[in-house]
């Protein structure tokens, strides 16, 4: 009996041990995500990275597959108004984006710099605000940001692509075009942006310099907040202004060669950009007759607001504003005061629809899709031109859900015709702009979308100095919108996809590709393996989910940024997940 009892105790003990062993195994799987991640990182840090990558690649993959715990962010439902339903790390090297409605432009959006990927650990360590210390996978690592002077980078030797052929990259800035050109001519910088129109010829005639045309699609328009302020509420007044401005005269006299009068709001280089009827011809008599019909036979008094900031679509803001003032007076009898505003205030006031006169503003393409031009400006939620017109925005909603450009032609034709009929603004010009470099720089370029890929240029020595318009606002570009910040970030942080060096074609970056389902509601991105961040950690799908989540999910603790607005996330994807309550 005692033996039996002993045997039972032993059996029970064995059973408990066996059970404990079984629990341990399951526990190690759960907890293995972290330990596995850490282990991978440690291996790399310990100098066994090559072994880890290569030798344990297959094994590691099997092991990683078992250990990897994918993260997910998800909207509670699709009633919040945004496009994204969920983002899930479905595998260590695969991310699945599930949309609330079709998003045919997903690949173009995912190629945009604000959607760059940083290590999740770094985002957490920086409290969701790596404003001056970004870590990415790009061809350059940030050395230091000398405020007021320059941003300095050094080459990332473990870059997954071809490393830069030079050691150091320096980005500097000067607001004055003349200063930038002088620096280039004196050889203290290798490349400059935004060449003044009057300097085109100077550069073209200088054998020591290379003239680089920039093919960024853009548009300058004369905006009106048409439902809030008289007399712009009257469509006849708006149509009169559309006919009463000699746009050809503006292009011929104030823009460099290669610029063209805007036949539509969106440039024709964007698919479906210029379907539908061309804009009104210049006809001052008909314009004055329309004004008279509207009760403004003698014109009226108003203002032209603008900011004194050089852009490809508006290279000489003050001079062009005076030209509008002259034309409005001579052609239509409209007495317009020219008012220059501080840049930030101007953007705030104009995009909020609070300017009581004309505003002179433009748009440079972020990505090569018609939604980038039309949806932002004429979507239902944009108050810039007053209450949005259903005749326009309903077509835009319809068009944004059609995956094929060809299938969307009719919809965008209707939308463009409605814009022409309702005249929320007057498109003026698609401006040509240019960059310039020293002739000694090989493969100097300026991409149509985004800043140059500096690691593909070859300067005459080991340092490449680039001079742009202004200092970056911060180096965390998920929460920035200005081109100067994006150019500085882009050297360090890469998105899943990218734009080609000479076109708007989308290329692989951290993802080898993103493939959509038939109705463009589910996009699956296959990630590049063996990629390291600048801090030595390995890139995987969770970095993608966390990076996107920090920008997109307003309830995420990492959703901090610089201003916290994450404009590109909210506007390109229609809304942030868990948006803060409207004030």
């Amino acid at each position: 009996m005692r033996k039996l009892r002993t045997l039972l105790v032993l059996l029970l003990a064995f059973a408990l041990f066996a059970a404990a062993c079984s629990d341990d195994d399951e526990g190690s799987t759960d907890g293995g995500t972290d330990s596995g991640d850490d282990g991978t990182g440690d291996d790399g840090d310990d100098g066994t990275g090559d072994d880890g990558d290569d030798g344990t690649g297959d094994d590691g993959d099997d092991g990683d597959m078992a250990e990897f715990e994918g993260k997910t962010i998800a909207a509670p439902d699709c009633d919040y108004g945004g496009k994204v339903s969920s983002i899930e790390a479905t595998d260590r090297y695969e991310v699945t984006f599930t949309m609330c409605s079709p998003v045919p432009a997903f690949r173009q959006i995912a190629a945009f710099t604000p959607f760059g990927i940083q290590p999740e650990e770094h985002l957490e360590a920086s409290g969701g605000a790596p404003l001056d210390n970004p870590i990415g996978t790009g061809p350059f690592m940030l050395d230091e940001w000398n405020r007021g002077d320059s941003v300095n980078y050094s080459r990332f030797d473990d870059y997954w692509g071809d490393p830069a052929p030079f050691e150091q990259l320096i980005i500097r800035w000067a607001a004055e075009g003349a200063s930038r050109l002088l620096e280039l001519q004196s050889g203290t910088v290798d490349q400059i942006t935004n060449l003044g129109p009057d300097d085109f010829e100077t550069v073209q005639n200088n054998g020591d310099l290379t003239f680089i045309p920039v093919a960024n699609p853009n548009v300058l328009y004369l905006g009106m907040t048409n439902t809030t302020f008289e007399p712009f509420a009257d469509v006849r007044v708006r149509q009169a202004i559309a006919m009463g401005i000699d746009r050809q005269r503006i292009v011929d006299n104030f823009y460099p060669e290669g610029s063209e009068v805007a036949s539509h709001f969106t440039p024709c280089s964007i698919p479906n950009g210029c379907t539908g009827d061309d804009w009104y011809d210049f006809d001052p008599e008909a314009a004055r007759a329309l004004l008279a019909d509207a009760g403004y036979e003698d014109g009226f008094s108003t203002s032209i607001y603008y900011r004194d900031v050089f852009r490809g679509y508006l290279p000489e803001p003050g001079v062009v504003a005076v030209e509008f003032q002259t034309q409005l007076s001579e052609n239509l009898g409209i007495d317009a005061e020219v008012v220059v505003m501080e840049s930030g205030e101007f953007i705030d006031e104009s995009t909020s629809g609070r300017l009581d006169g004309f505003h002179l503003l433009g748009w440079g393409a972020d990505y090569p899709h018609v939604t980038n031009f039309l949806d932002f400006h004429f979507g239902e939620g944009n108050p810039q031109f007053g209450d949005a017109h259903p005749e326009i925005f309903e077509k835009l909603v319809e068009g944004s859900q059609i995956a094929s450009d060809d299938a969307a032609v009719d919809v965008y034709t209707d939308a463009n015709n409605a814009i022409r009929e309702l005249v929320p603004m007057v498109p003026i010009v698609h401006g040509a702009s240019a960059s310039a470099s020293l002739a000694s720089v090989d493969n100097a370029h300026f991409r149509p979308f985004g800043a140059p890929l500096f690691h593909r240029t070859t300067p005459s020595d080991d340092t490449f100095v680039f001079m742009q318009n202004a200092e970056p606002i911060s180096l965390y570009c998920a929460d920035e919108t200005d081109g100067e910040s994006l150019a500085a970030c882009q050297q360090v942080v890469e998105p899943l996809l990218g734009y080609a060096i000479d076109s708007g074609a989308v290329e692989a970056r951290l993802a080898t590709d993103c493939v959509g389902n038939e109705d463009a509601t589910v996009w699956t991105c296959s990630l590049r393996e063996g990629v390291s961040f600048h801090d030595g950690s390995s890139f995987d799908a969770n970095d993608v989910v966390v990076s996107w989540g920090a920008g997109l999910d307003a309830a995420d603790p990492l959703h901090v940024g610089n201003t916290g607005s994450f404009d590109y996330y909210s506007y390109l994807l229609d809304s942030l997940i868990n948006p803060p309550p409207a004030e």
Partner: protein
């Protein structure tokens, strides 16, 4: 008539003796004997004539543009046929600006604005400042304390920054610029006037008037003030120069005259980016500002010398 006593020195400027009428006549004759003063008079006289006869001198309206005219492009360099410029090219002796407007016509019309800004601001600052200074100096005690402490507060701010603050609060534009420059100039007139009044009111002829039963205001206006004006005239003349410079600075900063008004400072600012590609567009407005300011400075110096008996004989 009681004679004023010997002059009293104040802030490097000297009051002079003698009846007012004789003083000015002799001062003018002394001014004409000084080359710098004569040069200043000639320059200012020339600019005043240009301003008065601008519509006759300027070949075009300052806002007329020549876009679309044959052989014409924006920012064309100066073309003077007499100096060999091609006859087929339209003559614009100072070239065209960024909006293809005749630069010479804009410079000519700009003289009206600069002179009117300079003279108006000085007139306002002179009137208000000297009135406050006279009251403070003559009545003294708490009136003096209150007025002069307010002046000290205004003087405590850098003048141009304070003026920019005032324009930022009132909004850009010529009228507000003029007002801002005038406000920040008031204290210097008030201080000089007060110092002069403090010395003159102790003179015997003032005491005599008081003894004869004249009231405070009467004494101040008829006995004291006329004998304190000479240093203010010198300051005022120099003040016109600095007001013109300030107005140009405001124009350059975009806070002064607004487009399409022809104002030298804003003309300079509008084309500052073209300093290498079209230097004539910054050269001529800059020269216009320089010559005008030089004229007023030379005249101011000449007046100071002419009104200072210690420098005469």
């Amino acid at each position: 008539m009681t004679q004023p006593s010997e002059p009293v020195e104040s802030e490097e400027l000297l009051l002079t003796a003698g009846p007012a009428k004789g003083l000015w006549r002799s001062a003018f004759s002394r001014l004409l004997r000084r080359k710098s003063g004569v040069a200043g008079l000639i320059i200012i006289g020339f600019i005043v004539l240009v301003a008065i006869f601008a519509p006759l001198i300027a070949p075009h309206s300052p806002t007329e543009d020549f876009i679309g005219e044959p052989n014409t492009t924006r920012r064309d360099p100066p073309c003077v046929h007499l100096l060999g410029c091609d006859e087929e090219l339209p003559e614009h002796i100072m070239g065209l600006d960024g909006n293809a407007r005749d630069q010479f016509s804009r410079i000519v019309y700009g003289s009206r604005l600069s002179l009117s800004v300079g003279l108006s601001t000085v007139a306002i600052a002179f009137t208000v400042g000297s009135t406050l200074g006279a009251i403070a100096g003559y009545w003294g005690r708490w009136v003096d304390n209150v007025i002069m402490r307010v002046m000290d507060v205004i003087l405590g701010f850098p003048a141009l920054l304070l003026a920019i603050g005032i324009v930022a609060a009132l909004g850009p534009g010529l009228r507000n610029t003029l007002l801002a420059i005038a406000i920040v100039s008031i204290p210097q007139y008030a201080r000089v006037m007060r110092a002069s009044v403090l010395s003159v009111k102790e003179e015997e002829f003032v005491a005599a008037s008081r003894a004869l039963g004249a009231g405070g205001w009467r004494i101040l206006l008829t006995r004291v003030v006329p004998n304190t004006l000479t240093p203010l005239v010198v300051i005022g003349t120099l003040g016109v120069a600095s007001a013109i410079l300030d107005a140009a600075a405001f124009g350059f900063l975009g806070l002064g005259a607004q487009p399409p008004t022809a104002e030298w400072g804003s003309m300079l600012a509008a084309e500052r980016q073209q300093i290498f590609s079209a230097p004539h567009l910054v050269f001529f407005p800059g020269i216009a500002i320089m010559i005008t300011v030089l004229g007023f400075n030379l005249l101011g110096d000449g007046l100071r010398d002419a009104l200072d008996p210690s420098l005469n004989e």
